[in-house]
């Protein structure tokens, strides 16, 4: 598989960005079309480049450097899955959200950067890519509102710094940070802690409100929600690759359980915030954190089924990131279906992925089983939040609503198609990707990840040790029934009313009381406010005055220079 065809998707997006910029300068409003076209074309090229050419993994050391580090690119099933998890929501958002040509061009560029980061073959290049993508998203967001500075920028900066530090530590201990070249024992628990921290911050998967939810606070949703679609998968990528670096497992089973617990905590936190949200936007804002938490649970379990569930869930995260913004600011049956899909109602992709994740956790053992039960409780809470959302106002009063019926429909269609075709998705993408990061041990004949252990022989149903279910055979008829019902309802409505009857829409007054108030509500803000309020105690202020010290040091007084020099000389020569 030539390298050129692998680079084509990001190149298409860059070309689209340039075209959009040129059109914007020329006053032609075609930038959005160019960006959307570039994204869909990238998906098509990706599908052809991967599936039509034998699905052969490729690792290419280009011989050049980027930011001083060897530029190693890796294109395998994991990369393909992540690229799709980014490209599908990006294509949806670029197509159906309103943007100026300049914004569309920048968005396309950011998407290209995300693809580049996901194709990294080493942690150093991944850190560079993450930082670049985060920088471009920051530019996109700050043109809308400065709220991006509050949580987004510090979190993403910490993420790429920690990733870079992990890469540097790996280079110091193992001589390289290339995924395929790192010795199996090099990634110890301390390095995994740093890597996991980077992943959690980059993906916004913390029990309290993170930058992902903050992305929904602005008047406009375009910039923030695209950033979520691009960066959350980017945050997960190094954690998935960590399995590959460790020969198919994390350095410690306990570490995996901790990760799984953190995932459940993140999902629980998202569900609690969703059920207490004051508007539909608030509920939808928690869709991606919840989905991400479920992915982290499956990832931490550490079994082949868990990895497959996690990777399938990542595709679900992409769907959630694309669908949630498009379903915002609308009412109606389609929007209700969208919210239900995002809450994990069958037969959508999210339902299938989360169910698989719970099964993996249950099969993994006692502790993981408890975590599975906690995750199930969180899921129930998310469903309650979705039901409550029907009676909430669409958005806060100052929000700029931008409903998109077509986008809503497209997103729902993708989610449902993913659910019905779940087994095909697992067979074609998730299992090969899991096999990449969970290779068989030396001289082992049997692969660690086998389709037989996950899918029924006819591959139309999931068949695991804890039970099986047929996604296509159950979901397909359900969707068909739903569509038929919708068609009949429309036909009846048209027959009953010769003309259009005005529909009175009554906005719910005051919303609906939540089940309970989030216990961690406002904790980060209170913590930051407490830090800001720290002052030198009154009785010491005359002694410790940093401003005076600064003035003295910056005044250029020679006596200070001499005193500092003499002091250091005494210290050195003693």
């Amino acid at each position: 598989m030539p390298l050129a065809s692998l680079l084509l998707p990001p190149v298409l997006l860059v070309v689209a960005a340039l075209a959009g910029w040129v059109m914007g300068r020329a006053g032609v409003a075609g930038g959005r079309l160019a960006a959307a076209g570039g994204a869909w074309a990238a998906i098509a090229v990706l599908a052809v480049a991967w599936f039509a050419t034998g699905r052969t993994p490729l690792e290419q050391s280009t011989g050049t450097t980027i930011a001083g580090a060897p530029l190693i690119l890796r294109f395998d099933a994991v990369t393909v899955l992540f690229w799709l998890a980014v490209l599908v929501p990006a294509a949806l958002l670029l197509t159906f959200q309103r943007r100026s040509s300049g914004e569309a061009g920048m968005a396309a560029l950011a998407t290209a950067a995300a693809l580049g980061a996901l194709a990294a073959g080493s942690l150093v290049v991944a850190a560079f890519g993450l930082a670049t993508c985060a920088s471009l998203v920051l530019v996109l967001r700050c043109t809308d509102e400065l709220g991006a500075l509050r949580a987004f920028w510090p979190a993403l900066t910490a993420a790429w710094l920690l990733l870079a530090w992990t890469a540097v530590l790996l280079q110091a201990t193992a001589g390289t940070s290339a995924y395929d070249a790192v010795p199996v024992t090099a990634l110890g628990v301390p390095l995994l802690v740093l890597l996991a921290l980077a992943a959690l911050l980059g993906s916004g998967l913390v029990p309290w409100r993170s930058w992902i939810s903050d992305a929904w606070d602005g008047r406009r949703l375009e910039a923030g929600t695209l950033g979520v679609a691009l960066l959350v998968p980017l945050g997960f990528a190094p954690l998935v690759r960590a399995y590959g670096m460790g020969g198919g497992q994390l350095p410690s089973a306990l570490a995996g359980l901790v990760l799984a617990a953190l995932g459940v905590a993140a999902a629980l936190g998202a569900a609690i915030r969703a059920q207490a949200a004051a508007s539909r936007r608030g509920v939808l804002a928690e869709a991606v954190p919840f989905a991400g938490g479920m992915v982290l649970l499956a990832l931490g379990v550490g079994t082949p089924l868990g990895m497959v569930a996690a990777l399938t869930g990542l595709a679900g995260v992409g769907v959630a990131a694309g669908l949630a913004p498009l379903a915002a600011d609308r009412r109606g049956p389609l929007s209700a279906v969208a919210i239900a899909v995002l809450a994990g109602v069958p037969p959508a992709l999210l339902f299938g992925a989360w169910l698989l994740g719970l099964q993996a956790a249950l099969e993994a053992g006692e502790l993981a089983g408890f975590l599975a039960m906690a995750a199930a409780a969180a899921w129930l809470l998310a469903l309650a939040a979705a039901a409550r959302a029907a009676r909430l106002p669409l958005a806060p009063p100052d929000a700029e609503e931008a409903p998109s019926r077509a986008g809503d429909a497209a997103g729902v269609a993708v989610a449902l198609a993913g659910g019905v075709g779940l087994t095909a998705l697992i067979a074609a993408l998730s299992i090969p990707a899991a096999a990449e990061v969970m290779p068989p041990a030396a001289r082992a004949v049997q692969p660690v990840v086998s389709a037989a252990a996950i899918l029924a022989p006819n591959t139309l149903a999931v068949g695991t040790a804890s039970g099986g279910w047929a996604a296509a055979l159950l979901g397909g008829p359900l969707i068909a029934l739903g569509l038929a019902g919708q068609v009949v309802a429309r036909a009846l409505a048209r027959r009953d009313g010769a003309g259009e009857r005005p529909v009175l829409v009554v906005e719910p007054a005051g919303g609906v009381e939540p089940l309970f108030e989030p216990p961690l509500s406002g904790l980060p803000e209170r913590f930051v406010a407490a830090l800001r309020s720290l002052r030198t105690p009154e009785q010491y202020r005359s002694i410790l005055q940093p401003a005076m010290l600064e003035r003295a040091a910056a005044s250029g007084r020679p006596w200070l220079w001499i005193a500092a020099t003499v002091a250091m000389a005494i210290a050195v020569t003693r």
Partner: protein
């Protein structure tokens, strides 16, 4: 318009400027042509020095042509040529003691630039640095007890820091003073020249124990300047001071890189200095109108991009510097990386503040900003090329 302000000082006589330009150009030509001259043995431009000299020339050209100025451009050309000549001399002179002596000349000549601050006050920093370097060089080569060598190594490290005007030798700042007459010339122009070439020449004559003191002092002062610069740029009351402290951050990283020795450490310092000269210094000049209150500060898409650049994030020039410094620090002692990572993270606290002062520019000034951005992008993505040219 910024250049239409009332004259703030008496005009500089044309013959003086011509003389300065001629001297600078002649010195530059002498240094560049030294390998071909029979008496050119004392002048040896290292490969990194050549790159820095070229970068300085590009930065001067860029800022003279495109940046907003209060000082007439022809005066800037003359001063720029003079400064370039001085920098070339500091880069090329092989004998460290001669460098210290020449530092006196460069320092006093620079102090003759028009300014509201007294001449003597502006000459103090270079004089102090020259004495530290001279005394230090003498002590490390002098036979005697061990403390003499250690004191000499300390003095050499302190001399580098004093020449650049870093903590604890911060120079007095007059906010109204043009950049071509201020501390920025030392921190952002002459200082990098000294720090880039002198350590290599000094270390060859030091014992291992003295070299350890030299390195430890640089690392310690590097961390101090990194911390001072980071916290200062974030918390200081004025944007002018914030810019000044942002220079300290770059210097802090460079000093840590030099002090830890090793190829990657020197490479980090080299890249940091090239970026300081080609990126941060020009950006400071573009920020001057807003700092002086003649142009409003604002935050547009370009400003946000510049904030990312100033915070040291990819894909700009700060990223490879940070990566290399983390690399050498981790290899030397991994806990050293903790304060470095913390300081790098805190870079975002003041980056937006600095970017806001870059305001909005039009015409040539806007083009200049984009050019600087492009240069930083190239430095960030392709530092390997720069390293290869410098043999690092």
């Amino acid at each position: 318009m910024i250049t239409a302000r009332a004259p703030w000082r008496l005009p500089v006589p044309a013959p003086a400027l011509l003389g300065l330009a001629a001297a600078g150009a002649a010195t530059l030509a002498l240094v560049v042509a030294a390998p071909l001259l029979p008496f050119g043995d004392g002048l040896r431009l290292t490969a990194p020095g050549r790159v820095l000299l070229l970068a300085s020339a590009v930065a001067l050209g860029l800022t003279i042509v495109l940046a907003p100025h209060r000082v007439p451009r022809w005066e800037l050309v003359a001063a720029g040529l003079g400064a370039l000549g001085g920098q070339a001399l500091l880069l090329a002179v092989a004998d460290p003691l001669a460098v210290a002596i020449l530092l006196v000349l460069v320092g006093f000549a620079f102090a003759t630039r028009p300014s509201a601050r007294p001449f003597s006050a502006r000459a103090r920093g270079p004089a102090f640095a020259a004495v530290l370097l001279g005394v230090g060089w003498t002590f490390v080569r002098m036979p005697g007890p061990a403390w003499v060598g250690r004191a000499g190594a300390l003095a050499l490290a302190l001399g580098l820091v004093a020449a650049a005007g870093l903590v604890p030798y911060l120079a007095e700042v007059d906010p109204d003073e043009p950049a071509s007459s201020s501390y920025v010339a030392w921190t952002g122009f002459f200082g990098p020249a000294l720090a880039l070439t002198l350590p290599g020449r000094l270390l060859t004559s030091m014992s291992a124990a003295d070299a350890a003191v030299f390195g430890a002092t640089l690392v310690g002062l590097g961390l101090v300047n990194l911390a001072w610069g980071t916290v200062g740029a974030w918390r200081t009351a004025t944007d002018m001071d914030a810019w000044r402290y942002s220079f300290l951050v770059d210097w802090g990283l460079a000093l840590v890189g030099i002090g830890l020795f090793g190829r990657d450490g020197f490479a980090a310092a080299y890249l940091a200095f090239v970026a300081l000269v080609l990126v941060r210094l020009p950006l400071y000049l573009w920020a001057r109108p807003a700092l002086l209150g003649s142009r409003p500060a604002r935050l547009g898409p370009l400003n946000v991009l510049l904030a990312v650049l100033l915070a040291g994030a990819a894909p700009f020039s700060g990223f490879p510097v940070r990566l290399l410094v983390l690399n050498v620090a981790t290899q030397a002692a991994w806990p050293l990386a903790i304060p470095l990572v913390a300081a790098m993270l805190m870079g975002i606290t003041y980056a937006m503040r600095l970017a806001r002062t870059l305001g909005e520019h039009r015409g040539l000034a806007a083009i200049g900003l984009w050019v600087v951005l492009g240069i930083s992008l190239v430095l960030g993505v392709l530092p390997g090329v720069l390293r290869a040219v410098a043999g690092l």
